[in-house]
């Protein structure tokens, strides 16, 4: 699910999303009330619709000015916490980044959300 840009080649049949070119080079904030390029908006308007189409999604994180963890947690932890997406859907999401720490962090948010969901 999580790849470095230098590793596995992207799937040719997958939907390709680049946060920098398809959303914003300046993602910022957690909720829609925090600004126009929040994690919540990215999740709800870009990521979830693509995942619900049933296709694989190749998500590219490079090219932005940088990410705040508040954005990342809302965008990715929220996939499970808010939208209740299960692992079958999440597994269709492949993340590509030259920054391995981003992949580590995103995986943590998704895993934490899944664990909390199971505890309920």
């Amino acid at each position: 699910m999580i790849h470095n840009t230098s590793s596995a080649a992207a799937s040719s049949t997958a939907v390709r999303i680049s946060i920098a070119s398809d959303f914003s080079r300046y993602p910022a904030g957690r909720f829609k009330t925090d600004g126009p390029f929040s994690g919540e908006r990215f999740r709800d308007e870009v990521l979830v619709p693509r995942l619900k189409e049933g296709k694989k999604v190749d998500l590219y994180l490079d090219g932005t000015l940088g990410y705040g963890s508040s954005f990342l947690e809302e965008a990715f932890g929220g996939l499970v916490r808010v939208h209740g997406l299960d692992s079958e859907v999440i597994d269709r999401l492949a993340i590509y980044s030259s920054d391995a720490s981003l992949a580590v962090e995103i995986k943590k948010y998704i895993d934490d959300a899944v664990r909390l969901k199971k505890q309920r």
Binding site: F31, G35, L65, Y67
Partner: protein
């Protein structure tokens, strides 16, 4: 050919081989010393950058949300630079993989209510700063531990 002729050829050949082996040994030693210097420089840059991150985070969280936009951008950029240095370090050796530690620094510096419109300015003694300092220390400790393990100092 006379026997002493063969001996001379063998000796000359052995000298060439020994010279080549000696050159290779010296070359490897030089390469290792150069790599050690490069990695040391990289870790020094990481240390300098973490100081900047702590300072910028302190500045950011003490500001009102409507005045901290530029500071937030600078903080994210500094963390991104830190991640880039860590990625460069990891190319020297898998032992230098600090993804988890860098992720923790990012989480402490830019998590929670970072860039939230409803954020309230923090106090100087906020727990957040201590947690960030701890995350930075963990990153730097790993740098030093791995460096010492890969490039042990000679006992004097």
């Amino acid at each position: 050919m006379a026997e002493d002729g063969w001996i001379k050829i063998i000796i000359a050949g052995a000298q060439i081989v020994f010279a080549a082996v000696g050159w290779k040994i010296i070359s490897l030693g030089n390469d290792k010393r150069e790599t050690r210097k490069e990695v040391r420089t990289l870790f020094n840059e990481i240390r300098a950058l973490t100081n900047q991150i702590e300072a910028k985070a302190f500045e950011y969280y003490l500001l009102e949300p409507n005045k901290s936009g530029e500071c937030a951008t600078q903080l994210k950029r500094l963390v991104k630079q830190l991640a880039a240095l860590a990625t460069t370090a990891a190319r020297y050796s898998a032992k230098f993989d600090m993804s988890l530690e860098v992720a923790t620094v990012r989480m402490k510096a830019t998590g929670g209510d970072f860039e939230s419109a409803d954020r309230k300015p923090s106090g100087c003694n906020d727990l957040l700063f201590r947690e960030l300092a701890a995350a930075v220390l963990e990153l730097l400790d790993k740098c030093e531990a791995v460096f010492a393990n890969c490039y042990p100092s000679r006992q004097r």
